[in-house]
């Protein structure tokens, strides 16, 4: 039915589109933390977005499309300012990116309450999935808790009875550890949150070592993760206490960590070896263009543009009616690199999650899929979201 409705909408607006300067570009603001600790994941997101645009010949709904890339340096206050500039100055049609969850939280209200669209490429903080959900926000990634929930369940099944868990002290860190605790049935020995500015973890590693848990679960994205894993193995703990993680090991960070990461487990919604036609094309072309294996961040960046493009195509480039744009985004149909792609009521994706493991393939380190952990799950906050 919705397709019929969309077709009617599309036909109805078709006439209006042509005279309204169809050649004017669709402007997409990419708010990325290109400097700071989250620089490498942000660079991957950016390259994924670029590739998606290239795959569509930089066209959407018959109009040219451009990406306006802005660096927020990983600082929420700067992100707010940059988002305002994108909206009021550049008058973009969509904003995407917003990698770190605290950045998402900071720009969320300024963007959505002024009736502008935010397509989240990474962080999915709990409040946005729940009570503060908005028809102007669409995730191209996941809700923060989900990946950690998968890991918590996996460790419970593996018979691990007690763990220490650590994360940076910010929105995503709290979300992930909350998610882990939701599904992990054993005992939590330490629950430690480190300041965002900290990359030397000696005191925390000593604490973990002293409590001697059966396993350690961490969430340390980007530069934090590289330092955490390196220092963990320097302390010799990788041999005695297995390290499990979410968003800590990615295709970029495992190269910086080196062999110390081999054999470590992670949870993810996507891996480079996820089997579907869209993903094969994405991974092959990404490798060819950027000379490296894409990370999940790149995949999310790629899908962010795909979501927008799918909507703009349906609308034939006419973005004037915000309600229609909302409907088009919600129904976005495209070949996602993660396979099936469907929005839940809170505009987060219903999708599969996997357990992955770092392996050595020749000279290269790769994250490969071990097993599918859960199929087509929804996040727990959707019930709190008033949208239907």
């Amino acid at each position: 039915m919705s397709l019929v409705r969309l077709a009617v909408i599309a036909l109805g607006t078709f006439a209006a589109v042509i005279p309204a300067g169809a050649q004017e570009a669709v402007k997409i603001g990419a708010l990325l933390s290109l400097s700071g600790p989250f620089a490498s994941p942000s660079k991957d997101m950016h390259d994924g977005m670029q590739l998606a645009l290239e795959h569509r010949g930089s066209k959407m709904g018959g109009r040219p499309a451009t990406l306006l890339v802005r660096d927020d340096q990983g600082k929420p206050e700067l992100a707010v300012e940059t988002a305002n500039k994108l909206i009021r100055g550049d008058q973009v049609d969509f904003i995407t990116g917003a990698g770190l969850s605290n950045i998402v939280m900071a720009v969320y209200r300024p963007i959505t309450s002024s009736d502008n669209f935010l397509i989240g490429s990474n962080g999915g903080p709990a409040p946005i999935a729940g009570k503060d959900c908005s028809p102007y926000f669409y995730s191209a990634s996941w809700q923060n808790d989900q990946t950690a929930e998968v890991m918590g369940e996996y460790l419970t099944k593996a018979g691990i009875t007690d763990v220490s868990i650590l994360a940076p002290n910010y929105q995503a860190g709290k979300d992930l550890l909350a998610g882990f605790k939701r599904t992990f049935k054993g005992k939590i020995l330490d629950e430690i949150y480190t300041p965002l500015s900290q990359t030397d973890f000696s005191a925390e590693i000593s604490r973990v070592k002293a409590s001697a848990p059966k396993a350690v679960f961490v969430f340390y994205p980007g530069a934090w993760g590289i330092q955490w894993v390196k220092q963990y193995s320097q302390a010799g703990l990788d041999k005695s206490i297995p390290l499990y993680s979410a968003f800590t090991l990615d295709e970029v960070s495992i190269r910086a960590i080196g062999d110390a990461s081999v054999g470590m487990y992670a949870a993810a919604h996507w891996a480079a070896d996820t089997k579907n036609a869209a993903n094969t094309k994405f991974v092959t072309d990404f490798k060819a263009k950027f000379n490296r294996i894409p990370s999940a961040y790149a995949a999310q960046g790629y899908d962010s543009i795909q979501v927008i493009a799918a909507a703009v195509d349906v609308l034939k480039g006419d973005l004037k009616d915000k309600k229609q744009t909302q409907a088009a985004l919600k129904q976005a149909k495209f070949d996602s690199v993660r396979g099936a792609f469907k929005y839940n009521t809170n505009n987060f994706i219903i999708q599969d999650f996997y357990i992955t493991k770092v392996e050595k393939a020749g000279d290269e380190l790769v994250l490969s899929t071990v097993s599918k952990a859960v199929e087509q799950v929804k996040d727990v906050y959707a019930a709190e979201c008033p949208m239907k």
Binding site: P76, R88, G89, A106, P195, L196
Partner: protein
């Protein structure tokens, strides 16, 4: 050439502000008002710092702590459901003033480089304390939502309205501070900067004067913080970082300390330069850095030195 009287300078600032507003709208660059609001707020903060640095000779390297204080006063009140600006803004000023009254007696016991470092220490304390309040966002900062509410007609979530309000408040505060600087109080402060011992010998309790100056400067800076929270819609501990205190000092130096007007011009110059340069090259801090080094070495009186040079030349010709 005689300097403009205070009322005329203030009127000129207001006029330029409105003219700018009109031009921005006429040329379809409404976005400019966002930048301009920010510039004015920082200008006010720099002017308040000048009372300390330029008049009383107290080089505070922690003045941004009062931006933080004022900003969080608004942010926290808004978070707790108290949204009236008639309460928020005065509270921001009072809390900042109280903070200054608390640490003032301590920092004023020292002078020179120790004063610089002690003000830095206190601003860092405040900075780190705010990173620990998880209820108010901790490290991540706090959204100011909704904006301060005044009367129905004044909606600060509209950037144009916000600009006008900021402009008017800054003009009033600027005028008040210029008058203050010319009052006997201001003259005593100037005396302290030149020779504190002599002022004491003349029977002035310089400590009291300096403490009062510290409190007044803090309250005005707190007001700037309250407005900044409304301009950005966000407060974070970053507001009180030592880098921001440094930037305020830079504005004072660039504009010429001990003039009050200078720091306002300095703030406008610095932030405009930042704005213009950042559109040209992403490496603009490099140019700014070079400028600062050159100014510190060759133009210790700030850009005022340049204007004096021009003035002499124009007199000759």
């Amino acid at each position: 050439m005689k300097a403009l009287p205070d009322w005329a300078f203030t009127a000129a600032v207001a006029f330029c502000g409105f003219a700018f507003f009109a031009i921005a709208h006429a040329t379809g660059n409404a976005i400019w008002t966002d930048v301009a609001s920010r510039i004015l707020v920082y200008g006010l903060a720099a002017v308040s710092l000048d009372i300390l640095v330029g008049y009383a000779g107290m080089v505070s390297f922690g003045h941004a702590m009062f931006l933080l204080c004022g900003g969080y006063a608004v942010g926290i009140l808004a978070r707790e459901g108290l949204v009236s600006g008639f309460i928020q803004w005065p509270v921001a000023m009072i809390v900042s003033g109280l903070l200054a009254a608390l640490i003032g007696p301590l920092v004023l016991r020292t002078g020179g480089v120790y004063f610089i470092l002690l003000t830095l220490a206190f601003s860092q304390m405040l900075f780190f304390l705010f990173t620990g309040f998880s209820r108010y966002g901790g490290d991540e900062g706090l959204q100011v939502y909704p904006r301060s509410e005044f009367i129905r007609a004044v909606d600060l979530s509209n950037p144009d309205t916000l600009f006008i309000v900021v402009l008017l408040v800054v003009c009033v505060a600027l005028y008040a501070m210029q008058r203050l600087a010319k009052s006997p109080f201001g003259l005593v402060l100037k005396g302290c900067r030149q020779n504190e011992k002599r002022m004491q010998a003349l029977g002035y309790q310089t400590f009291r004067y300096k403490l009062l100056a510290f409190v007044i400067a803090a309250a005005v800076c707190g007001l700037a913080g309250a407005m900044l929270a409304n301009v950005t819609g966000f407060v974070s501990p970053e507001y009180g970082s030592w880098q921001r205190s440094g930037e305020l000092l830079v504005m004072v130096i660039l504009g010429g300390m001990g003039t009050l007007r200078g720091p306002l011009i300095g703030a406008i110059f610095l932030l405009m330069l930042e704005h213009v340069l950042s559109e040209q090259t992403e490496h603009w801090p490099l140019l700014l850095g070079v400028l600062l080094v050159l100014v510190a070495i060759y133009l210790p009186n700030g850009l005022r030195t340049v204007s004096v040079l021009f003035r002499r030349q124009s007199n000759v010709s």
